[in-house]
């Protein structure tokens, strides 16, 4: 309890109050501590008990609140000097109230001498200038104290030393005239002899008034309260209330807030004498903001839960809506951010998902799922970047993933891999530089080399030409994989099956592309064919299982995309590429699986035919799953080629098919040529820069590996001859061509390494075989003729 305040109160209220106080505060230990001290005070109290006992009772009862040190929220506030600007008056600046109270001259004088302090500001008029200074008649106070002093006949001396001099020779007093209004700081007060000295030196101001300029002031700049009190004194009808209501400041709508701050009362934790309303009783979690926060979180969580429900049933749009709703309700809701990030990752918007996860981790740095997902997504993004040849950035991402979760095996693996790759590429570059230097020195060989290069280029051009119609060639090749079956094809049928064929063609194209990848890799490794086969089987197990990140997991489910934004769209395209590739991997693996099966069970044709159907339908599915945009171009081309194909004579096709057949037979290594072509095509069709880069790299590889490639072809030639012979015998029998059986026979003869051939058949031969049965006999004979012709042609070069 504030002893001074209590003593002051006791002095005022007297004995009876003290008794009530003792009665009411018996249980207050604070009061018991000070009560003995207060006994003396109450005895010498002058009070005559003028206040009602009810008020005393109230004060006594609330004494623990009233005299509690914590009750006083105002800290000793330094009085700020307001700029006396009428326009900016934030509250009603009133004339001193003693003016209206008509307090006696003596009392006011005594009050002023009591309350005036060093550093206060006084305003006065010069009435006398002497050689040692000038005298001021005081008009009013300004800043700190607001008192009515005009009629108190107070004068103050300003000594010449207290006037700041502007020049060394001038008399400072020459700047002042009698009648000037001067604002000065109180230098000293002699309370007994009632003498005031003032100063014009800024240094003599109290520190909170330092910005006030001392010296001469024009009449307009005299304090507002002074001018108002002059008005009030002149007009006796003016009352305090009327002046108050005529002030700007009184009508200021935020005057309460302004003045509350000025008097130092808090309005957010307002004081109250009611015991039930003490601010210490209010708990922070009962406040509106706290409840709202909690409520928003719970509402948002509900939405997230609903969204996860949708997500589990693959309703991705609805899930996204729920997540966004959750984030609307509660921005930065961690669960919603994580869930949305996961959804983004699943939809392939990896950048968006990363930003979501990071936001979640910002608000909740230890969120386990957020960490895990972000790690996986970073690895995923790193892989994307790796494919775009942005190795260093990708490496950075892997490192960041590891910094989140240093035990993540994928990130570790990827990081070690990429560091290897980077080192390798650096080495390669160095080697290339060294080679170039070599070249420069040996000019003799360069001529030869140039010739070689020219030759190669010619060959390339040829291939390119072919690749320009590669879809058609691949089309025919797939159909003609067994020549007799191709010979049985008719224009009408091709029209009928146009659509189907186009699809299967695309599927097979993809096959080729992927197998080319495999084979190129294999070539790189320089393995034998048998090894290759083994590898293929290995891959059967390896490819279908995509990396276990959430992102890839969902990449394979097409679904409606969210790629509205540009950036996302870009990512989507890239993703589509990836997706296709991974699908192809798994698919080729599947068909290879099938092959090995089929080679084992040669005689169970029917069973296999069924399986072929399956593979066909699978290829269709695959097709649908593939991303539309990226395929549009090739589809167009395919259509064109088809048309051309139909228009062209069969002979043209046959001549091509001849080559195709050869290549087909020669297994995947031969196919790699096709794949290169197709990749060229993609280059020409103006794919993204990264794609073309990739292709360039491929070219480099090709040229370096040409030799081993040729060797592979030679090897397969022997087998090819056998097949050829078989085919001839078949034809001599003059039977109606049955492509499927043919391929079976072929398979039987070549249990290993015939994979691609078989695959092509399996895709296309079934419908053809069926169609043949429906054809009229005259057409059949024509086909036979064509087939024979083809055979002769094919056999010719041999």
């Amino acid at each position: 309890m504030d002893r001074d305040l209590l003593r002051q109160c006791l002095t005022y209220h007297g004995e009876s109050f003290f008794n009530k106080l003792k009665c009411e505060q018996t249980e207050n230990p604070d009061f018991q501590a000070v009560v003995s001290d207060l006994c003396k005070v109450s005895c010498e109290s002058k009070s005559d008990g003028q206040d009602s006992p009810l008020v005393e009772q109230f004060i006594a009862r609330k004494a623990d609140i009233l005299f509690c040190p914590a009750w006083k929220t105002t800290t000793r506030q330094e009085e700020e000097h307001e700029e006396d600007d009428d326009a900016a008056e934030p509250y009603a600046i009133m004339p001193p109230v003693e003016l209206f109270m008509e307090v006696s001259y003596e009392e006011r004088r005594a009050m002023l001498y009591r309350d005036l302090e060093k550093g206060d500001i006084l305003v006065g008029r010069i009435n006398n200038i002497r050689e040692y200074g000038f005298f001021l008649t005081l008009l009013c106070t300004a800043g700190g104290l607001k008192r009515d002093v005009e009629d108190l006949e107070l004068s103050a001396l300003c000594h010449i030393r207290e006037i700041p001099s502007t020049g060394s020779h001038d008399d400072p007093l020459s700047y002042f005239q009698t009648g000037d209004f001067i604002r000065a700081a109180v230098k000293d007060i002699d309370r007994y002899q009632e003498k005031i000295t003032v100063s014009l030196q800024q240094a003599s101001l109290s520190h909170n008034l330092e910005h006030v300029k001392l010296g001469v002031v024009p009449r307009e700049e005299l304090p507002i309260h002074y001018s108002r009190s002059v008005c009030a004194a002149a007009d006796s009808t003016e009352t305090y209330e009327r002046i108050l209501k005529s002030c700007h400041g009184y009508h200021n709508p935020s005057v309460v807030a302004y003045l509350l701050e000025k008097v130092g009362v808090s309005d957010t934790h307002p004081p109250s004498m009611m015991r039930g309303l003490q601010s210490k009783l209010f708990q922070e979690e009962d406040f509106a903001s706290a409840i709202r926060k909690k409520q928003s979180a719970s509402w948002a969580l509900k939405c997230v839960r609903a969204g996860v429900g949708y997500f589990k049933h693959s309703h991705h749009v609805e899930a996204m809506n729920e997540y966004n709703k959750a984030l609307d309700i509660d921005t930065n809701n961690v669960e919603a951010l994580v869930a949305r990030g996961a959804l983004y990752a699943n939809k392939g918007s990896i950048m968006k998902s990363i930003s979501d996860f990071e936001l979640a981790l910002k608000t909740c740095p230890d969120h386990r799922n957020a960490k895990k997902y972000l790690c996986q997504t970073l690895v995923e993004r790193g892989k994307q970047l790796e494919e775009q040849e942005k190795l260093v950035t990708a490496e950075g991402l892997y490192r960041r993933a590891l910094s989140l979760d240093d035990s993540n095996p994928e990130a570790q693996e990827a990081l070690s891999k990429i560091t290897d790759t980077i080192q390798k590429s650096i080495r390669l570059r160095e080697e290339a530089v060294a080679k170039e230097q070599d070249k420069a020195t040996s000019s003799q060989i360069s001529a030869e080399k140039l010739r070689k290069i020219l030759k190669e280029e010619k060959r390339m051009k040829k291939k390119r030409k072919r690749s320009a119609s590669s879809s058609s060639s691949s089309n025919t090749s797939s159909r003609n994989s067994s020549p007799s079956s191709s010979s049985s094809s008719s224009r009408r049928r091709s029209k009928k099956k146009k659509k189907k064929r186009r699809r299967s063609e695309r599927g097979s194209k993809r096959h080729r592309r992927i197998s080319s990848r495999e084979s190129s890799r294999r070539r790189e490794e320089g393995k034998s064919e048998k090894d290759r086969k083994v590898k293929e089987e290995d891959e059967v197990e390896w490819y279908p299982a995509p990396p276990n990140t959430a992102a890839t997991f969902l990449n394979q489910k097409g679904g409606p995309g969210f790629g509205e934004e540009e950036e996302e769209g870009e990512v989507m395209v890239k993703d589509a590429d990836d997706r296709r590739i991974s699908q192809l991997y798994s698919l080729s693996a599947a068909s290879e699986d099938e092959e090995s099966d089929s080679s084992r069970r040669e005689n169970k044709r029917r069973e296999r035919e069924e399986r072929r159907k399956n593979s066909l339908s699978r290829s269709l599915e695959r097709e649908e799953r593939g991303s539309r945009e990226s395929l549009d171009k090739s589809r167009e081309r395919g259509r064109e080629d088809n048309r051309k194909d139909r228009r062209d004579s069969d002979s043209k096709r046959r001549s091509r098919s001849d080559e195709n057949r050869k290549r087909k037979v020669s297994c995947s290594s031969a196919e790699s040529e096709y794949s290169r072509k197709s990749s060229f095509k993609s280059e020409y069709s103006g794919n993204s820069g990264s794609a073309s880069k990739r292709v360039e790299r491929g070219m480099r590889h090709d040229s370096s590996k040409r030799n081993s490639f040729d060797g592979g072809r030679c090897e397969s030639r022997g087998r090819e001859e056998i097949q050829e012979a078989a085919r001839e015998t078949d034809n001599r029998k003059g039977k109606v061509v049955d492509g499927s059986r043919r391929s079976d026979v072929g398979n039987g003869k070549r249990p290993e390494g015939a994979g691609s051939h078989n695959r092509q058949c399996s895709v296309t031969s079934v419908p053809e075989g069926r169609a043949t049965k429906d054809l009229p006999s005259n057409l059949l004979s024509i086909f036979n003729q064509i087939a024979q012709f083809e055979k002769q042609k094919g056999a010719g070069p041999k």
Binding site: L5, Q8, C9, Y12, L54, V55, Q57, R61, K62, L66, W71, T73, T74, R76, Y91, A92, M94, P96, V97, E98, F100, M101, V103, S104, E107, R108, M111, D115, K146, Y240, E241, Y250, P253, V255, V256, L259, L260, V263, G264, V265, D267, T268, H269, P270, P271, S272, M273, M274, G276, L277, F282, D286, F287, A288, I291, R292, K294, Q295, S298, W299
Partner: protein, 257 residues
């Protein structure tokens, strides 16, 4: 006019509904006494809600005045007082340009009645509650003939405080928490209908008078007392009336809580 009281679900009703019990068979005096206590409790609710909603003093005062004026015209039997109070808070926020959301009002009220409970779910009940608050707001507006802006003593009190302050020695003033005390007294006025029975200036002067009195601060006396200057028509009797009303409210607190 159909009262919205029927729409207030039990979750928002206070645990003690003793003001309803035995209302019919009690006499006039006892009944009015019970009503006063009810209104005291509801005003306490408004104050507490106001603090928890972060409302300033003036909007809370407006809410209380709306509340008291409403019951001047309506019978306590017809409407649910706490619902009226919630709508008053909502309406006062609009009137005094410190908008409060119904959701926050509902949240804080719900927690006031069910302390420590989980926040409301966003379900039908929530929307029903919200609807009833909004409907009741319209009812209040009609009952008060759309006269919902009032002059409050707050502005007067603050200006008086500054004027009185310059009469007192600055050190004595800074030692004495007169501003806090008078502000607290002024806020506490709104627990009862006294806030609409007295004119704002009188209330401001009375609270300042009581605050000065509590600390035994003596002001210079001239021809007129300081309060006579601040408001021309105020008399000592006025001040005493306000003070005695106020002191009754403090007595009421002990009886009601």
């Amino acid at each position: 006019m159909e009262g919205p009281s029927s729409r207030l679900p039990p979750s928002l009703l206070p645990a003690s509904r003793d003001w309803m019990v035995g209302r019919r068979d009690s006499g006039g005096d006892a009944e009015s006494d019970r009503d006063i206590k009810t209104h005291f409790r509801v005003c306490r609710f408004i104050m507490e809600t106001g603090v928890k909603l972060g409302m300033r003093s003036v909007p809370v005062a407006t809410a209380c005045v709306l509340y008291h004026r409403f019951w001047e015209r309506a019978s306590v039997h017809a409407y649910e007082p706490y619902l009226v109070a919630m709508s008053c808070v909502y309406l006062a926020g609009k009137v005094e340009e410190q908008h409060t959301r119904t959701r926050d009002i509902l949240n804080v009220s719900h927690r006031y009645f069910n302390s420590g409970s989980a926040p409301l779910e966003c379900d039908k009940e929530f929307w029903d509650l919200r609807d009833s608050v909004v409907q009741c707001e319209l009812l209040i507006l009609r009952q008060l003939n759309f006269q919902v802006s009032f002059e409050h003593p707050h502005k007067y009190l603050l200006h008086y405080l500054l004027s009185v302050k310059s009469l007192v020695n600055r050190h004595a003033w800074s030692r004495t928490p007169i501003a806090e005390t008078s502000w607290a007294l002024l806020r506490d006025c709104y627990h009862g209908a006294m806030c609409i029975r007295h004119i704002p200036q009188h209330i401001a002067i009375a609270t300042l008078h009581l605050a000065l009195n509590s600390y035994g601060v003596e002001l210079p006396v001239g021809e007129k007392e300081w309060w006579q200057v601040l408001c021309v028509d105020v008399t000592k009797a006025h001040i005493d009336a306000v003070v005695s009303d106020l002191l009754q409210l403090y007595d009421m607190e002990a009886k009601c809580v």
